[in-house]
Amino acid sequence: MDYMTIDGRCVPIEGEKNILALIRKAGIDLPTFCYHSELSVYGACRMCVVEDERGRILASCSEQPRPGMVIRTNTTKIRKYRKLIIELLLASHCRDCTVCTKNGNCELQNIAFKVGIHAVRFLNNREQVPIDISSPSIVRDPNKCILCGDCVRTCAEIQAVGAIDFAHRGSNMEVTPAFGKELADTDCVGCGQCRVVCPTGALTIRTNVTDVWNAVADPKKRVVVQIAPAVRVAIGEKFGFPKGTNVMGKIVAALRLMGFDKVYDTNFAADLTIMEESKEFAERLKNNEKLPLFTSCCPGWVKFCETKYPEFADNISTCRSPQGMFSAVVKEYFAKADEEEGKETFVVSIMPCTAKKGEILRPDNFTDGRQDTDSVITSVELIRMIRQAGIKFDEIESEAPDMPFGMASGAASIFGVTGGVTEAVLRHVSEDKDHKALSQISFSGVRGIDGVKEATVQLGDREVKIAVANGLANAALILENIKAGEAHYDFVEVMACRRGCIAGGGQPLPMGPRTKAGRSDGIYAVDRESQIRFADDNPVMSQIYEDVIAGKEHKLLHRNVENV
C-alpha cells in the first residue's frame, strides 16, 4: 500500500481523491468553507492550505495524494496565512453576530474562533446592498456572503436549478440571480439546500415565528398545529438526544405548553395521501394515461417540474401534499365549531422544508379561494420557539397528539425519507398484507441512499416499473431519459432534497452523512414500532372519510388544477 506523511505520521492512501480527505482521516480537523464531499472541488477559500517539505503551500482539497508526499498542516507560515484570510474575510463582513440568525451556528464565527482571531486591523469599506426577502422560503443577505460558492454549486450540481451564480469580478464579485433579479423572479424552487451549505448568514430561512406567536396569543383563533414526519427525528439533536431519536411526544408536550389549541400529526394526512394517490395510480394504470405518475408531495419538485419540464406537468399527481390535505380537512372539520364559537381556525404546520412555505401560497392549494395552511415553520424555527419559551425540552414528559388527526400508520411516517412514499403506496396496493409482503416491499429496491433507484413490482397481472429520485439533478436525469425514450416507468417518486425530507432545507444543522443516516434510521424505527403498518388499517381515517371528506374528495384532497 502507498503512504504519505502528514505531520510526521504515516497515513495510508486508500483511494482518497484529495489530501484533505487523508488529513481528516488522520484525525486532523482542517477548517474549510468551500469543500463539500458531495460537490465539485472549488479551491476558493484557501483555509485547507498545507505546507510541503519544500515550503510550498498547497490547497489540500484540490491536491491529489501522491505516495511518499510529506506535508505539514500546522506550521508558522500556514497559521499566519490562515489567520490573514479570516481577518480579510471578517474585514468586509458584518460583525453584528449577536443579532444574526446564524449566531452559534455560523462557520465563519466558528472558524474565526478556532483560528484565533482577536482583532481585525482593516476598515470595512464594503458597500451595503439590500437584503432579498422576495422568496417565501429563503432570505438572501449578500452583505454576509463570503463567496465560497457552496450555494452556487449546490443549486447547479445537486439540484440542477442554477438560480444563482457568481457575477462580476474581483472586489465587485457577488453571488446573485441573473441581472440582479430577486430570488422570487428566478427558477428557485425554495428547497433551501443553499441555506444548508451556506457557512454564514448570507442564506437563511425566511422565518414565520412571529406570525405563529401572534396567532397563539390571539384568543379569537383556534390554533391547530401539524407536525411532519421528518421533524420528530431531527430536533432532538439540538437538545442532547442521540441522532435520529423520535421526540414526537416531547414536541407535542412543548407545543401544548406554548399554547397551541390542538396538536395533530401530519402523518394522518400522509395516510390520506396514500389512499388518494393509490386510487389515482390505479386509475391511470387502468386507462394507461398520463404515465408515469409523478408524486406531488414535494413542493420543490413540483415547481421544478413545472418550470424546467412543463411538458411533464400533467404527469404530476393531482393529490395535494399531506400538508395541504391536512389543512383543508381540518378547516372543514372545524368549520361548524368555528361558526358557533365565533372563532377562526389557524393552521400552523411544522415542516423540515422551506419550500412548504411557498406551497401554501399556491392558488391550486386553496379551498374555495381560501388559503388552507396559514403559517409554515421549519424544524429550525420550532427549536427557536422552544428556546424562546424557555421549555426544558429534554426534561418534559412526552404526550400523545390530539385525536382524531393524531393517529397514523407507519407507512405515513416513512414519507420523510427517499423511497418512503413509494413504499407506502406499494404497501397499500399490495394484495397481501402480512409480514412477508412488508419485507418484500422494503427489499424491492426503493430503500437506500442512491440518487436514482429503480424497482419492478408485480401488481395483479401487470409488471409495474418504478423509479425513485432524490435530489433534483437526479430527477432531471430520469426526465431526460424518459424524454429520450430510453426509460419507461409507471410511477416516479421525487424528493427534491438528497435522502428526502430528513435532510430538508429547514432541518437543523450541521447535517453530515452520519446525522442523515441517524435520522433515516429514526424514521424507519417509527414505522417498525407502529401498531398499524398499512394506511388502510388506520381506523380513524375511515371515520374521517365518512364524516368530513365524503363527497368532497376532489375539493379537499386534490389540487384545484383549474385555479392555476
Binding site: 438560480a163 469580478r169 441573473a178 428566478t186
Partner: protein
C-alpha cells in the same frame, strides 16, 4: 421582449457555432459586434438555446469588462489609462472628452447616442501614448486640443 429580428439574428449566430456551452463567449461577442451592446434579453435567449442557466450566462458576461448590457453610442471612444498613457497625461484627455461631450460623472454615453467614452487598462500601444481608439481606429499621441478637433470631425462639423 425585443423585436423578432433580434432573436432571428441570434439564431443565425448560434447556427454559426453550435449549441454547446463552450460557444457562449464567441456567440455573445458576435451579438455585441452586431448591436454594439449585448441586449440582456438575448443573453437569456442564448443561454436557453445552449442549455445553460441564465445565472451562469450572466456570470460569464459580467466577468469580462468587454460585454456591455447598455446601449452604446455610434462612436465608442476607448481612452487608454495604462501606465505609459497615464504618465503622459491621459487624464487630461479624458477630462476634455467629458467636457466636450457634456458627460456627467458616471455617465458614459451621450444622450443623443452618438458617443460612448470608456477607459481601458492598456491598448498595448505604449509607444504611441497617450492613445485612444474610436471604434477600433487608433489615434496616437493625443492632446486635449486634438480631442476637441476629433470630436468636431466626428460630429461632421468641419
Amino acid at each position: 421582449m425585443l423585436e423578432q429580428s433580434y432573436y432571428d439574428k441570434a439564431d443565425e449566430i448560434i447556427a454559426n457555432y453550435g449549441t454547446e456551452a463552450r460557444w457562449l463567449i464567441p456567440i455573445i461577442q458576435d451579438v455585441q459586434t452586431e448591436y454594439r451592446y449585448l441586449p440582456p434579453e438575448l443573453l437569456t435567449y442564448i443561454a436557453g438555446k445552449l442549455n445553460i442557466t441564465e445565472a451562469k450566462a450572466y456570470s460569464v458576461a459580467t466577468f469580462y469588462e468587454n460585454f456591455s448590457f447598455e446601449k452604446k453610442g455610434k462612436y465608442v471612444i476607448k481612452v487608454c489609462d495604462g501606465t505609459a498613457c497615464h504618465v503622459r497625461k491621459s487624464t487630461a484627455i479624458l477630462d476634455r472628452l467629458y467636457k466636450e461631450l457634456n458627460l456627467k460623472k458616471g455617465q458614459h454615453t451621450t444622450e443623443d447616442m452618438m458617443f460612448t467614452v470608456e477607459t481601458v487598462s492598456c491598448l498595448g500601444a505604449c509607444g504611441l501614448a497617450p492613445v485612444l481608439t474610436v471604434n477600433d481606429e487608433v489615434h496616437a499621441a493625443m492632446t486635449p486640443e486634438k480631442v476637441t478637433a476629433l470630436i468636431k470631425e466626428l460630429r461632421g462639423e468641419n
